[in-house]
């Protein structure tokens, strides 16, 4: 099935998504890699409200032009690095959609099931294609402290995808299925 969602989304909508479905997102998303997860969880800093946005595992390549930030290239980064944070992150911030690549582990899977969320995969390395779907940069946090890749960037996206539902809210994972098939 193919779905086109506008953020924020409620739990009923998340429940519609099953492993293998295709999703396109419109609305606000924020980027967070290792360092941003660390700051938001361990140092308990959250200057923006992440609850209504999708979380994007991404360290974008940005350019400042006439005082305004623009996205040059912004594909996903490897999600498994965030496995050590993600269940806690979902619990604390109510994150319902996580966008990344490569898949995540058991702990995240359980949290997605418990709190009704999904992990969707975007094509790794497709940075130029992703940049086309990002319409506006509405904010950035911890840029000086963490540098461009690790900072938290807020993007307004339109029809961001195709995203493949890889882990759903029913405890199913496309990656687990593959491992069994080996």
């Amino acid at each position: 099935m193919e779905y086109h969602f506008t953020l924020p989304v409620n739990k009923d909508k998340i429940k519609k998504l099953k492993v293998g479905d295709i999703l396109y997102l419109t609305g606000e998303i924020f980027t967070a890699r290792d360092e941003t997860h660390h700051i938001m969880l361990k140092k308990n800093k959250h200057p923006f409200d992440p609850s209504e946005m999708a979380l994007y595992h991404c360290g974008p390549l940005m350019k400042k032009d006439k005082g305004k930030w623009h996205v040059v290239s912004a594909g996903p980064t490897t999600s498994s690095r965030m496995e050590i944070f993600e269940d806690e992150f979902i619990k604390k911030f109510g994150t319902k959609i996580i966008i990344g690549k490569g898949g995540m582990g058991e702990k995240t899977q359980k949290a997605l099931q418990k709190y009704t969320g999904v992990y969707v995969a975007y094509t790794g390395g497709a940075g130029a294609l992703a940049a086309e779907k990002i319409k506006e940069v509405t904010g950035v946090y911890w840029l000086d402290e963490l540098g461009m890749p690790e900072a938290a960037w807020i993007f307004k996206v339109k029809e961001f995808g195709p995203l493949i539902v890889a882990m759903d809210s029913y405890g199913k994972s496309i990656y687990k299925k593959l491992k069994k098939g080996k």
Partner: protein, 286 residues
């Protein structure tokens, strides 16, 4: 003016590597697209669209523009050999702003980003020397996601070549979707620990689809491609027939007690660009 012109050429070289994927890789991805279905085909379609878009808009195909890595062969009659290192460093600084490429050099202790892609030992340059007066430079920006899947195995010589093959297949399957498959796997067998990994990385400079000149190694490469592609990991680890586009093996002699195997995984964005600088300062992309 002479040096400035060469620096301009190196910036162009980095730009070409970051924005324009070599044809051998694009063709391999197109062949994969033809045989895949479903989710795997969707991934390859996005990859091919992305390659086209990056080339047309002259922007880096992937936001991870890598650690700037260069392989240089210097003709010993080139007049400005001692200026080459500084030229590369300056070109990387300029490219960071001009192209732009993502600032990717971080202090391992403090986590501070150097912001210009420069740092201790980085850009990473491998030097070689030859006769003549031309300088040959290959830019090989290497992304972090695939590099993280590198592996060194100090195997027991008793496991033999079958043990080597099993180690490679197991490690690539373990990496799953993390290194952005379909990947190109570079393997160095033999040498010491550092040489095995170095050869693994160097083997990635060989175009996709070209087998080793050594027939026995070529056979092993073919066997590994088949075995890994049976894993069904597929593009981006979402399932499919194409997990690797190619496997390249290079060999060195080893110590009787050691059997090092260095695996260096390269994402589908196997970015390489090549230039020749002549002694008069003129340069050309090859």
């Amino acid at each position: 003016m002479y040096l400035e012109n060469i620096k301009k050429g190196i910036v162009e070289l980095i730009k070409k590597a970051e924005t324009d994927l070599p044809l051998d890789v694009v063709n391999a991805l197109k062949s994969a697209y033809k045989i895949e279905t479903g989710v795997a085909k969707i991934q390859l379609e996005a990859i091919l669209k992305n390659i086209d878009l990056a080339k047309k808009t002259k922007r880096p195909m992937c936001q991870d523009t890598g650690i700037q890595t260069f392989f240089i062969t210097v003709g010993i009659d080139f007049p400005k050999i001692l200026d080459l290192k500084k030229l590369i460093v300056d070109a990387v600084k300029t490219a960071t702003i001009q192209i732009p490429i993502r600032p990717n050099t971080v202090d391992p202790l403090t986590g501070l980003n150097h912001k210009d892609n420069i740092g201790n030992y980085i850009p990473y340059i491998t030097w070689d020397f030859t006769n003549g007066s031309d300088v040959s430079i290959t830019a090989f920006p290497k992304g972090g996601g695939s590099e993280n899947m590198s592996k060194l195995g100090m195997l027991k010589p008793g496991v033999g070549i079958d043990g080597v093959k099993n180690f490679i297949v197991d490690e690539v399957i373990k990496a799953g979707g993390n290194p952005c498959p379909p990947t190109i796997v570079g393997v160095g067998i033999g040498g010491g620990a550092d040489l095995a990994l170095k050869l693994g990385k160097k083997s990635l400079l060989r175009p996709v689809g070209i087998r080793s000149r050594d027939k026995k190694i070529a056979e092993i490469e073919n066997e590994l491609i088949k075995r890994i592609n049976k894993s069904n990991i597929g593009p981006m680890g979402l399932g499919g027939k194409t997990t690797v586009l190619d496997v390249h093996i290079e060999m060195a002699h080893r110590h009787p007690a050691s059997l090092p195997v260095g695996i260096v995984v390269q994402c589908w964005a196997n970015r390489r660009a090549h230039m020749i600088i002549h002694k008069d300062g003129n340069w050309e992309m090859k």
